[in-house]
């Protein structure tokens, strides 16, 4: 279920079949870890933010300390407005599904999102619709991204907030995880405990 008029947060700058990197329009304006985002384009992809990074636009030059004489961190940015253009915030997202002919598919899109595709943070209604299927965790749980347990529990935390009965949703998601990690109930338990905190 694609919800129109949702806030746009950035654009795809690096794209692949399983994941993409988007640059946020605002410095530090990336969606939080675990948030469900959707790309624009002919075959919109759903993805979960799993890594957010801010660095200088020139990879060969590391930013230098500037706040020695400032009273607060924010003063550094206020007194150096050019920093907004010298630094950039990127977020990596792992693809967990796509929209095909108006239907949500819980599998990888046939082609990756194009560069410059817009990236939207999905509103609660869209999150609820996406996570209502028992398949919604499969690609994420199997993605092998760094700190996967953290990402999954953050995703569940956001998804819970979108559902009318968060506890029931979490219990259902827990059962899906138990199927996805059949010999590792410890992992399931730790994900759930973190999601419920």
């Amino acid at each position: 279920m694609v919800v129109e008029d949702t806030p746009r947060v950035g654009e795809v700058v690096e794209s692949g079949s399983t994941a993409f990197v988007a640059q946020s329009y605002r410095l530090y304006g990336a969606p939080p870890l675990g948030v469900l985002v959707r790309t624009g384009g002919p075959c919109p992809a759903y993805a979960v933010v799993h890594d957010v990074a801010t660095r200088g636009i020139d990879p060969s030059r590391r930013p230098l300390p500037r706040g020695k004489s400032e009273a607060a961190e924010q003063d550094v940015y206020d007194n150096n407005p050019q920093l907004e253009h010298l630094l950039r915030t990127e977020f990596r997202s792992v693809i967990v599904g796509h929209v095909d002919d108006g239907e949500t598919r819980y599998r990888l899109p046939p082609s990756p999102p194009p560069i410059y595709a817009f990236v939207y943070a999905c509103p609660a209604a869209e999150v609820a619709a996406f996570t209502s299927s028992a398949d919604s965790l499969r690609l994420l749980a199997g993605s092998g991204v760094a700190a996967a347990e953290e990402v999954v529990s953050a995703f569940l935390r956001h998804a819970m907030a979108a559902h009318g009965d968060p506890t029931a949703y979490l219990a259902g998601a827990g059962r899906q995880l138990a199927v996805l990690f059949p010999r590792d109930f410890r992992t399931v338990e730790s994900i759930l405990l973190r999601a419920a905190q």
Binding site: G174, R175, L177, A178, R186
Partner: protein, 545 residues
């Protein structure tokens, strides 16, 4: 996933198993393990047929070994809820008993399962309709005996098939054997499947009987007054209970045969030599008079007879001594007559059922065994003769007769079963239209051959291992039946299996003892009886308006 309407609760899918062990069913996480009970009936939907099976084991499994060593934090309801049914789940063992192929075959009834359902075939609890397809609806040969556990459907027993073979009611004391027997007798009466001859040791079938919990209950004479005759050995006892017996039974000394003494050997504390002496005495004095003449012998006469017959004198004197007890039995007369046997047969021939009460002799096992054995021998002999005379002409054959005996292991123990009439009847099935209904609490004491010939067995709770083994020996899925048996409730529950039922079934035995239960068995209160008679008269002679 509850499927089409009318289907029972969805339990899970078949995940493995074998024909001999039964199939394994992974219980669905939505179905709480506590809701499934041993002995419950389930339906497995295969590709081309439906299987009807019974739950024979329930086990708790886990998919993650670490769960066993370090159980998850189940104080957290979320974790507990997720762990249950996923990492930790339940598994059922289901023994497929019957297969119903397609829709058409349902009309012909189910056949024993000879195949297994495929992997992942869905499994449900049997619905009321499923149970009805298997056990048949109540009609003029199917008698409602009870309901499966947790269900209201009526499980019926095919009484025509039932009385074709000897049958057994087993269970330790206080578990409802008499209750069940009374119900079966009432059923045989109601459906007129056969005539009953009941050796009613404790006087609980004919007139009032006691039932644990509900107090006094009506006997079959009260339910079917015109079709049941109560014979008594003890007039005084019957009158004291407010029962006027239809016939006062007397046994003549001439009817006692050495075979009876052989049967009573253990009870009377006789050695083999002493029991064998009875045969010599019968030869010596003649079959008709030997007991009377022997008991009249004085000490020196006995010595003479002993030496003449070449029998140990001590053995003979013990025999004399023990047979002397018969003098105390008021029902034994000096008169030589076969009248009591004739009278019983007359009643049975008219289609009346006979209950023999023992009155004060109920505590005398020897009296019970003597009378039961002696009457049965004679009645059986008459049936054999008449059946042979009929030579296949069904109209002239004697009515099928069911003889009910209690303490059956005394008549059918390994030592005596080969010699007693009861042993013969049990072995020859319905060849001569006579079968037994044996009621016993120690089935392990009954000869194995006799046990294997019993057609249908109704077993209440048994906890002695040897008894359980004896009852289930030679039955398909015996091991599973044993585990079901040991889990029965001690009240109003019984496992029924064998010839007259398509598959073993755990029953909650139907009620007996309430006004409604009597009505359902065909009993009419006096006022109803009057109305019924008036209606009948109106039908016969035309209305009176």
């Amino acid at each position: 996933m509850t499927g089409e309407s009318g289907a029972g609760r969805y339990l899970g899918v078949v995940v493995g198993g074998s024909m001999s062990r039964g199939v394994d069913v992974r219980l669905s996480p939505d179905c709480p393990v506590e809701e499934v009970a041993m002995g419950q009936h389930v339906v497995i939907q295969g590709q081309s047929r439906r299987f009807f099976g019974v739950v024979t084991d329930i086990s708790l499994e886990w998919s993650d070994d670490s769960v066993r060593a370090n159980p998850p934090d189940t104080s957290n309801p979320l974790i507990a809820g997720v762990a249950a049914g996923t990492a930790a789940y339940a598994s059922l063992r289901v023994l497929p008993m019957l297969a119903i192929a397609g829709e058409l075959a349902a009309l012909e009834g189910p056949a024993p399962a000879r195949t297994v359902p495929p992997h992942f075939a869905p499994v449900r609890l049997a619905s009321e309709e499923d149970v009805q397809v298997v056990f048949g609806a109540e009609d003029n040969r199917h008698f409602w005996v009870g309901s499966p556990l947790d269900m209201e459907t009526r499980v019926c027993l095919d009484l025509d098939e039932f009385v074709k073979r000897s049958n057994g009611v087993f269970g330790k004391s206080g578990t409802g054997k008499s209750f069940l027997t009374r119900l079966l007798l009432a059923g045989i009466l109601q459906k007129s499947a056969a005539v009953n001859l009941v050796f009613d040791m404790e006087s609980e079938y004919g007139w009032m009987g006691t039932s644990e919990g509900t107090g006094m209950v009506k006997g079959i004479k009260q339910l079917f007054p015109s079709r049941v005759a109560v014979f008594s050995l003890d007039d005084e006892h019957s009158r004291r209970r407010g029962v006027s017996p239809d016939y006062l039974l007397r046994v003549g000394y001439n009817q006692i045969e050495p075979e009876d003494i052989e049967l009573l050997r253990e009870n009377l504390g006789l050695s083999e030599v002493a029991a064998d002496a009875a045969y010599s005495l019968a030869r010596h004095f003649g079959q008709e008079r030997w007991v009377k003449r022997f008991l009249e012998l004085e000490g020196h006469e006995m010595r003479d007879v002993a030496s003449e017959l070449n029998v140990n004198e001590r053995a003979m004197s013990t025999l004399h001594n023990r047979l002397g007890r018969f003098r105390r039995y008021g029902f034994i007369t000096e008169r030589e007559s076969d009248e009591s046997v004739e009278e019983i047969l007359r009643y049975l021939d008219r289609g009346n059922h006979v209950v023999l009460e023992f009155g004060r002799y109920r505590h005398e096992l020897s009296a019970y065994m003597l009378v039961a054995n002696l009457l049965t021998r004679r009645i059986h002999a008459r049936y054999v003769r008449r059946k042979e005379e009929a030579m296949g002409d069904a109209a002239r054959e004697p009515r099928p007769l069911v003889i009910t005996i209690e303490e059956a292991h005394r008549f059918l123990s390994r030592e005596v079963a080969s010699q007693t009439t009861f042993g013969n009847i049990a072995r020859e099935m319905r060849k001569y239209n006579v079968t037994l209904l044996v009621v016993d609490q120690r089935p392990s004491g009954i000869d194995e051959e006799v046990m294997s010939q019993l057609g249908t067995k109704l077993v209440c709770l048994l906890d002695n291992e040897r008894d359980v083994e004896a009852v289930t020996a030679g039955t398909h899925g015996a091991r599973d039946l044993r585990s079901v048996l040991s889990k029965l409730d001690s009240k109003q529950q019984a496992l029924m299996f064998g010839h007259a039922v398509p598959m073993p079934v755990v029953l909650r035995v139907r009620d007996y003892g309430t006004a409604e239960s009597y009505r359902e068995l065909g009993f009419l209160e006096a006022s109803e009886m009057r109305r019924q008679m008036e209606r009948d008269a109106d039908d016969l002679f035309g209305g009176r308006e």
